[in-house]
Symmetry: C2
Subunit: 122 residues, 2 copies
């Protein structure tokens, strides 16, 4: 089983999911899976990736709160892009990028299932 399988499971389970990444708290992506279902007419993927990179670039201060234990998730959103970010281990987190219309509750649920599976692979 590879990281990609768990990341693709998240993207495939959530309508409007653009991509899912396993990342280190150092900001380096271990693995990223991009949705193959999103057509160019459906969402501007190029612009979504620019937003996504921008959001991840601003994560440094945010991920600290995830390490406190009580908070299980954070989101950092722009007008067009919603992310859900969840701890995997003390050094890694998983993040899914969604269109504004996507099902947020479903994305939370998919990440909650994926996180322990990813942790087992690390």
């Amino acid at each position: 089983v590879s990281f990609t399988e768990h990341l693709s499971n998240v993207v495939n389970a959530v309508d409007g999911a653009i991509a899912c990444s396993l990342m280190g708290f150092d900001g380096i992506s271990v693995e990223t899976f991009q949705s193959p279902r999103l057509k160019s007419g459906e969402v501007d993927l190029q612009s979504a990736w620019v937003e996504y990179a921008n959001v991840l670039g601003q994560l440094n201060a945010q991920v600290e709160v995830l390490k406190t234990g009580r908070v299980s998730e954070i989101s950092v959103n722009t007008e067009k892009l919603v992310t859900v970010i969840r701890m995997v281990t003390k050094e890694y987190f998983v993040v899914v990028a969604l269109t504004a219309q996507a099902n947020y509750g479903k994305a939370r649920y998919a990440l909650r299932l994926a996180a322990p599976k990813l942790a087992l692979e690390l």
Copy 2:
């Protein structure tokens, strides 16, 4: 028009909204409106408020990212509670607390409408 009117409009527009607060970046609440519709059987309000207070207590690092301009919202979630936080002015933000089942997109939309109205009153 008072702050309470704008805050209650947010709570009333979103099923599963528990409370909406106008807060300073110093962590002091200017005004809070709690949903009168939530019955004790529907959600454990007391426990929701403990979660809410906990989340707000961990906001310090998070709100910094809101001031950068590109990011329009952040959320800080526990298993049972979802929040959506949006800038109002450089000194104030608005936050809505939701049950895990609430409509996140609707909450984002309601805050987007409320923020400029609250800003006009400050």
